[in-house]
């Protein structure tokens, strides 16, 4: 089994009466690019702040490099580079000076500044004040700050935030090269699966403070094969939605004629059709397809689980 660089057990965090995180079990293996996914407000940044000791958990434990964070905070943080939300930059200083501030704080050699500037390709602009930097350059400088101590683990909170498509692609290439060429383990959070699905090796999905999935990308693809979407063209979408929802189906409106239903298998397609017809809804079309990874992510974070076929069979039996 791979060595775990971060491990959390039953992590809870409460802000006032509001429960932000509930029972989080995270396992970040060495050498991975670990995507931490979830919609805005799911608790990603809170989790990262807990991992870095910026917040105190209400319950549960955090282990960094196999040691408990609370007892070995300084030792653990020495091996971590961080970028939390927007980078903390001093706008009146140049990029080089910003790195020098962090270099002095960390007590690392001066040569590291040139090395990290080269990695993030900011040598040309290093002597310009940060207030003249574009958003993408600021993000890259933030990564350079995180890399300064040559850490084993990088914790990056939404590093692609606010970047244009080419900036996102650049960041993706940078992260892959840091992982593959420099051997860094990367833990990065994002609210968009499409942004990181080509980059990550492992991922977890957080929704409303609870972990809905954790595993490799292959494992998520396996899960994806079990989830299918059925587009149903009907005479009355509102009645169809109500009937299917009452029977426990995850339904969403597509347009004025179609609803989308999440089903487990082909057998369920016939049952959905039968259910609608028995309620007097005319079904004029059925389109059965596999759920994409993005749809999978959306369904995990926005909808209930696909209804079990048995539930619909039971309803149909009652009707007949």
């Amino acid at each position: 089994m791979n060595e775990l660089l971060i491990q959390t057990q039953d992590l809870h965090y409460q802000y006032g009466r509001q429960k932000i995180l509930q029972g989080l079990h995270l396992h970040i293996p060495k050498g991975s690019i670990y995507g931490f996914l979830g919609p805005n407000g799911a608790g990603k940044t809170t989790t990262i702040r807990l991992l870095l000791g910026l917040l105190q958990p209400t319950r549960g434990s955090i282990h960094l490099f196999g040691k408990e964070l609370e007892l070995h905070r300084v030792g653990g943080l020495q091996r971590i580079g961080t970028l939390i939300e927007t980078p903390s930059l001093y706008n009146h200083l140049t990029g080089q000076d910003n790195l020098e501030v962090m270099r002095r704080l960390l007590g690392v050699g001066k040569h590291r500044i040139d090395e990290v500037l080269e990695i993030v390709r900011l040598q040309q602009d290093a002597h310009r004040p940060v207030k003249h930097y574009s958003l993408g350059m600021c993000q890259r400088l933030g990564i350079a700050l995180a890399l300064l101590s040559d850490p084993e683990l990088l914790i990056l909170d939404e590093p692609t935030n606010g970047l244009d498509p080419s900036g996102i692609r650049e960041m993706r290439e940078l992260l892959i090269s840091l992982n593959q060429e420099h051997g860094k383990t990367i833990f990065l959070s994002s609210h968009l699966l499409s942004e990181i699905e080509k980059t990550v090796t492992h991922l977890s999905i957080l929704h409303q403070g609870t972990l809905r999935f954790e595993g490799t990308v292959q494992e998520l693809h396996q899960l994806e094969k079990h989830g299918h979407l059925l587009e149903v063209e009907v005479s009355n979408v509102l009645s169809a939605k109500e009937i299917l929802s009452v029977n426990g189906c995850a339904v969403e409106l597509v347009d004025a004629q179609k609803v989308r239903v999440k089903v487990r298998n082909k057998e369920a397609v016939a049952l959905v059709n039968q259910l609608l017809v028995q309620h007097g809804i005319q079904v004029t079309g059925l389109l059965y397809g596999q759920q994409s990874l993005e749809e999978m992510f959306l369904s995990i974070t926005t909808q209930p689980e696909p209804v079990a076929t048995e539930t619909m069979v039971r309803t149909l039996l009652t009707l007949s």
């Binding site: 702040r49 870095l52 000791g53 910026l54 917040l55 105190q56 300084v74 030792g75 943080l77 020495q78 971590i80 961080t82 939390i84 939300e85 927007t86 903390s88 930059l89 001093y90 706008n91 009146h92 200083l93 000076d97 020098e100 501030v101 962090m102 002095r104 704080l105 960390l106 007590g107 700050l145 101590s149």
Partner: protein, 258 residues
């Protein structure tokens, strides 16, 4: 112990770089020089009317500088410099980066505190040096005033030291306020409010217990011929600033960085 020293050296050095190209450093030099220059101009143009012939001019000149500094400049400057330095961190949203750095949490507060304390010390040194320079320059430009016949390096340095110690609590309090609150306006505004309270209540019999009066009472010792090095208000200031510093460090260790 060695690790603590290394953390402090690295931390204060990093903090020092943050004030590069900012107003904080220049304010530390210009604020004391502004008081000294104004007094210089007053004595240059009207010195013959202010000073009695044959009387030591340094006593009046230094006294005027100390009074203005202790009553207004020191508290105002302390409110401003602490707000400016902590404002740099608030503006950069840098607390999360500092508290996630591999150093003990109490160092974050102490590093910044020591840097600003260094700036305040620089201000008082500049003030004393400026005062000597202005006095000797008056002696050269206006020999009739008689500055060149007297020498008061020791008593003026002691006066500067007294105001510095008397201001320590105000410094620590203003530092804590600006460290805690993001709004520069709030910390400066509170500073002005506390100074106003002192000016309004300056005739109150218990005003000597009010922290914003302590620099004034410390400076007043300059006029007393047989005064001890430490007047009571200096002890109050020193003791309460140490107590507040310890409390603030303990509080900063538990700081939750949202």
């Amino acid at each position: 112990m060695e690790a603590t020293y290394t953390f402090l050296r690295c931390g204060v050095s990093a903090e020092a770089l943050k004030i590069k190209n900012s107003w904080a450093f220049w304010l530390s030099l210009l604020a004391p020089l502004s008081i000294v220059s104004m007094n210089f101009l007053v004595f240059y143009f009207k010195g013959d009317r202010i000073l009695k012939p044959g009387v030591d001019p340094w006593f009046t000149f230094a006294g005027n500088n100390f009074t203005a500094t202790a009553q207004l400049l020191a508290p105002m400057f302390l409110a401003l410099i602490t707000a400016l330095v902590n404002g740099i961190e608030h503006h950069a949203n840098g607390w999360k980066q500092l508290y996630a750095a591999p150093m003990p949490r109490w160092m974050v507060f102490l590093n910044k505190y020591l840097l600003v304390l260094g700036l305040v010390l620089l201000t008082f040194c500049t003030f004393c040096l400026g005062l000597f320079a202005a006095g000797y320059l008056l002696g050269w430009l206006k020999p009739a005033l008689g500055f060149q016949y007297y020498d008061h390096v020791q008593s003026i340095s002691l006066g500067g030291f007294r105001v510095f110690i008397g201001s320590l609590f105000i410094f620590t309090l203003q530092f804590c306020i600006s460290y805690r609150f993001k709004s520069i306006g709030l910390s400066i505004g509170l500073g002005i409010l506390f100074i106003m309270a002192f000016l309004i209540g300056s005739r109150w019999e218990y005003i000597g217990y009010y922290p914003y009066s302590w620099p004034y009472f410390s400076a007043s010792a300059f006029y007393m011929k047989a005064s001890a090095v430490f007047v009571p208000q200096m002890w109050y200031s020193l003791g309460s600033s140490i107590a507040l510093l310890v409390l603030a460090i303990c509080h900063s260790v538990k700081k939750q960085v949202q």
